[in-house]
Symmetry: C2
Subunit: 398 residues, 2 copies
Amino acid sequence: MTLASATRAAKDAALLAMADTLAKAETAILEANERDVGRAEANGTSAALIDRLRLNPDRIAGMVEGLHELAALPDPVGVVVRGWTNANGVQVRQVRVPFGVVGIIYEARPNVTADAGGICLKSGNAALLRGSSSAAESNAAVVEALQAGLVEAGLPAEAIQLVPGPREVTNELMAARGLVDVLIPRGGAGLIDNVVRNSQVPVIETGVGNCHIFVDAGADEQMALDIVINAKTQRPSVCNAAETLLVHAEIADSFLPKALHAFAANGVTAHGDSRVAAYGDVVPAEETDFAKEYLSLDIAVAIVDSLDSALQHIRRYSTGHSETIITESQTSAARFTSEVDAAAVLVNASSRFVDGGEFGFGAEIGISTQKLHARGPMGLPEMTSTKYVVTGSGQIRQ
Amino acid sequence: MTLASATRAAKDAALLAMADTLAKAETAILEANERDVGRAEANGTSAALIDRLRLNPDRIAGMVEGLHELAALPDPVGVVVRGWTNANGVQVRQVRVPFGVVGIIYEARPNVTADAGGICLKSGNAALLRGSSSAAESNAAVVEALQAGLVEAGLPAEAIQLVPGPREVTNELMAARGLVDVLIPRGGAGLIDNVVRNSQVPVIETGVGNCHIFVDAGADEQMALDIVINAKTQRPSVCNAAETLLVHAEIADSFLPKALHAFAANGVTAHGDSRVAAYGDVVPAEETDFAKEYLSLDIAVAIVDSLDSALQHIRRYSTGHSETIITESQTSAARFTSEVDAAAVLVNASSRFVDGGEFGFGAEIGISTQKLHARGPMGLPEMTSTKYVVTGSGQIRQ
C-alpha cells in the first residue's frame, strides 16, 4: 500500500501501533538519550540546550499521548475544499492530497522526532527527519520504535526515516528538488535562515518571534499588566512570548511604574531606553535589544509618542509572528490589525494564544511566518497540497 | 492611501481609469511596439516569438477588456476564510490580506504587463514587472498608461512599476528577500527553472505542461478521438495542451489507426515508438520526445500494456500539470485520479479545461505546478496571503 493513498483507518492503526512500540521502547530510548546527554555534557553544552535534549519518562509519555491525539484527529487527505459543475457539465473538485515527501530539519529536542513523524504520517506524507547530531542516538532509538509500529500495522517502515550523516547531508537535502517536496526547518534563527536562503526545495519558514505588545493611550491598565506579564512569563522560551513592550507616551506616567514593578516582582529584567529609565530601574537598552528574540525572562521596553510611532517600530523590528495591541479604541484596534504585517495580530489578548493547540488544531508542526501556503499555526490541513479532479463525459473545449 | 488597505471601490475605480488611459495610449503603445518588433526582426528573432511580441488594436482592446473584467470581480482582500470563538471567548478570524510586493518575471508578450499589473492591483499587491528586453519599449508604454490611470484615481503610481535594466537586475530581484514577498515567473522552462533554483524570494512556479492522455482499454473510442484532437489542436501553444498520447495495448488495434488518421487529417505530426509505427506513418520517437513540451502540432505516441505502465510512464515524464484518462472503468478512473501526482487530473474531458477562465476564476496569473500555496489555475484569492486577527477582552493563557 502506498502511504499517500492509505486510508484513515490504516494510518490511525499505525499511529496507535507506533504509540505502543514507542512506549515499549522507553528503556532503550532513555539509555540512548543518556549517551547523547553525556556526550553533550562532556562537550560543555549549555544547561538550557541539555534540558531540551534530555528525555525522561514524562516526555516519552507526552510523545505517546501525542500519537494517540493524532489518531483521533480527522484525516486532512481527501477533504474536498471546494467543487462546482461548469456550464457544460464538467465537474471540478479541489481535493486535499499529501505533499509527498516532507523533510524536517530540527535542533536538539528529540520529542520533535515522534511529533513530526506522526504528523507527516497522518497527513499521508513520508517524513525525512534530519535532527541534530547532538540527539543522534535518541532520534535513532525513537525512529526505530516508530518504524516497528509502522511495520506492525502493515505500512512501509520507510514512511518515517532518519537522515543521518555529516553536515553536508543537510545541503544535499536542500538540493533535492524533485525528490523532496517541502522542507520545514524548526529551530533557531540561524538554522531557519540557512535553510530559507539556500534551499532549492520549497520551504515553509517557521517560527522566529520578536513579538511586540503596544499599550495604547487609554488602555485598561490592569488588563495591559495581566497580558504583558502573561505573554512574557507564562513560557518565555517559546516563539509567541512577548519580547518588546511599547508604551504610548500619554499613558507612560501612570502605566510604566506599575509595569516595571510587575516585571521585577516576576523576575523579568527590563531593558529600557533612556525615556523608560526615568520611571524605574532598567538595564539600558541597546539598539540590538529591540531586534532580539530573548526567549528568556528579559523584555525590551520603549516609549512611543503615537500609534504611528508604534507601527513604525514594529515595521522595523517585527519578525512577522504575533503582534499585540492593548487598547479601548476601536480606531486604534482597526488600524493596528490592518496595518501590522504579521501572521497574527491580537487585540486585548495574550500572544501565547497564537498556537495550534489553542487554535483547536490538535497538532502543530510549527508556526509559519511566511506568506506563501500557510501563515500562523500549521495544523494537519497545512501539511497537504491540493489537486483538481476534473470529471466529464467527453466534453471538449470550443 | 496605502495600496494594501485600499477599498474595493478605490481599486475598481483605478482599474477602470487604467482601462481608459490604456485605450487612449493606443497609438503611443503601437508605435513603441513597432520599434520593439523592428529591433527583433533585425536581430533575426523567430516568427513565433515576433508574433508573441506584436501588439495590434485587437490585443490592446483585449488588455482594456481584461481590466474591465477585473473591476467586476469580487475583492479577495478582507475575505474571512474561517473564524471561531475559543472556549475562553477569544475570537479568531483568518482574513485574506495582500502579499505586499509581487515580482513577475516574464517573456515577450507585452499584454502580460497590463494583465499582471491589473491582477496585482485588484489583489492589493504592488507589482514589480520584469519583462524581457525585447519588449522593453512596449512594456514601458503600457506601464506609463497604467500609471496615468492610477494617479487619476488617486492611487500611487508606484503600485505598478517596470523593472528595467540589464540581465543582472533579475538576479537582484531574486535576492531581494524581505523587500519582495513573492516572485512569479511566467514563460518557458528555462526562465522558470532559473528563478525556481536561484531565488531567495519565495516563488510560485507556473506552467510547464508535458500533459498526457491515456486511452484505457474499453474506452469510448469516439470520445477519446474527440478529446485527443481537441486537447492537441484547439490551441497547441499553451501549457494545458496534450503532448503525449498513451494507448492501452488492448485497444491499440482498433483505436490507433483512427487516431493516426485523425492526427494526419488535423495536421498533427505523430512521433511514435516502434510499436506505434506498426499502425501507420509516424516520425520515429526518441526518448526525448516523451520528455518534450512541443507547444506545436506534434504529439508523442506510445503503447502501454497496462494502467500500471501508463502510471509509470506519467510518473517518469509528467511535469505535474494536467493528466487525462479516457476510460469507462470506475476502477481505472479512481486509480488514475488518486495515483497521478499533478495539479489537475481529468477523466473523460479535455485538458484544455484546466484554465482560470474555464474554472470561472475570471482572471488568471498563471497555472501553478508546485505543491505549496496554490496548485493549478491561480485566480485572485491565490494572489493573497492570510492573517489571523485575534480579539479578546483581556484573556491570558493559563
